[in-house]
Symmetry: C2
Subunit: 311 residues, 2 copies
């Protein structure tokens, strides 16, 4: 029999996960959960893949600005585009959130949903991470992939519940995580139905429909799934409300946090950072006995490509 | 072998359905569709259950006004509530859409999602239809139930895509149609995350998030499922865009309309009515060869309870 969760070191985190899954799948046991209710929700950025130096969707937006620039000569003299084209990250960040929103709007809207999906697929097939030189979709956490598969083998349905764009994740989430589009929940924008050349299309508009972050995560879970999950995994305060939502169900539940402690193999950060800050959720995890996964201690291997290099 | 779709009379509608399902499930065939892509979407009001004298969700709202009235003495002198309490339908309809919206807001918001689900369950377990004296959830179309089951047996995933409230349908759709909450798409409102007595709850707000009708149906399908369905079934112009969306996919598709032609066993209506009007979608169905189901001719039996009475 192959070992369970082989990339996880033996320890309290791995044991807590295995104990929970054993308990809720034991027919006749006190903590049994029927398969229909075995819902597990996972944040994406920082939980299933890395989120440094910036959320990978922002890296996509920056790459798209460069790709689209020949059709937009005015961008060479207009912020925030000029900063992107000149690779001036300080200048870009000086523009604050409104500058980033402008970049996302320019690169994520105006096209049809099919066209956008094709652009995302092109990018994930070719773009390289600045630190590792790897495809972004290679920078996923092997221990979490194992957990997703292990859960599905035990009758769970696995969902992504991310602050990232729902249509940014869907084109590759099935191939990379085994999670099909209808199990991807994220931030969404409005789309407009049109008939173009006799075919129905949906055009992406620069209008937010749902921000799937913080208190928006339980709202999204309820809107898309309509049941409370029994397992929730995140890595930052953006996941706090989602964990509270899972913890408030009637039956057994499991709440987990991925703690970025490994500055050598990945990145190390928690309190007081802008992207992926872990603060209040960490406090509550300690208080309530939620499982905090220490990436350096609990994970034998982080990325799937490591054992190719080392082994 | 039990006959296929036993409540359907032999005819072009039944044959078109069986031919389509046979074609898309024939491995190696020209029209084969992989199970992951076998998505079938169904309107609810007028397609899976009746919608006369009013959408059943409006009947629920009226019943709720009567139930809640003792706590709202002011309603006895305030429209549109007074009209409801005096059973004055003309007075109610004189208030137009804004009056109906006010009724829905008063009866559908302010409580938690769990409280609302319990109210819907109480209502569906007890409320009676004014014409038949039956539970509303008994006034479902047996031939469509057979079709839903037949599709699922052939690897399809069946979805509801309705203008009705998503949280009005989810409490009973699984038991009545075999369609679980995560496969129910409908009109949704905003909810607000709160911690009450240490438990996370969502409170229903009188703010629309998504109107899942007309052009909103393909928007909802894309937002929730992220794939184009290969089969779509509706009964009114509110389903037109959804049928166009299904018809614009790359592969094979089936578009169907339920035509309410049976004034004796159900209700007869099509063009020029306010609820469930069938006009432009019917024209396009004829033009494009979509399947139009004639309830009187094509269905041996309409409601599941009929054979108990007649047999």
């Amino acid at each position: 029999m192959s070992p369970k969760l082989p990339s996880w070191n033996e320890g309290t985190a791995k044991q807590a996960i295995l104990d929970f899954i054993a308990a809720v799948t034991e027919e006749g046991g006190d903590f049994y959960v029927a398969p229909d209710d075995r819902l597990a929700v996972f944040d994406n950025d920082g939980t299933l893949w890395s989120e440094r130096p910036l959320y990978f969707q922002l890296m996509f937006a920056l790459d798209q600005v460069n790709r689209m620039a020949p059709d937009h000569p005015e961008w060479r003299h207009t912020q925030p585009f000029q900063a992107v084209l000149e690779n001036d990250m300080d200048g870009l960040l000086a523009g604050g959130v409104s500058g980033l929103i402008e970049l996302v709007a320019a690169t994520h809207t105006g096209m049809t949903t099919d066209e956008f999906a094709a652009q995302v697929r092109d990018w994930t097939a070719t773009a390289r991470h600045p630190d590792t030189g790897r495809l972004y979709t290679e920078m996923i956490f092997l221990p979490m992939l194992e957990l997703l598969r292990f859960l599905r083998r035990h009758g769970f349905t696995t969902y992504i519940v991310s602050g990232g764009g729902i249509e940014f994740m869907r084109p590759w989430a099935e191939q990379v995580y085994g999670i099909p589009p209808q199990q991807v929940i994220g931030t969404s924008i409005e789309t407009q139905f049109e008939i173009r050349s006799g075919k129905a299309v949906l055009v992406r508009l620069p209008v937010i429909n749902h921000v799937d972050d913080k208190e928006g995560k339980p709202v999204g879970i309820n809107r898309y799934i309509g049941r409370r999950p029994v397992m929730a995994f995140g890595n930052s305060d953006g996941d706090h409300a989602m964990l509270q939502w899972a913890a408030s169900g009637e039956g057994p539940h499991f709440c987990g946090l991925v703690h970025h402690t490994d500055g050598e193999r990945e990145y190390a950060y928690d309190r007081g950072v802008h992207i992926g800050g872990l603060d209040r959720a960490w406090d509550e995890a300690i208080e309530r006995g939620w499982t905090v996964v220490d990436m350096r201690e609990d994970w034998k291997q982080i990325y799937p490509f490591e054992n190719i290099e080392n082994g």
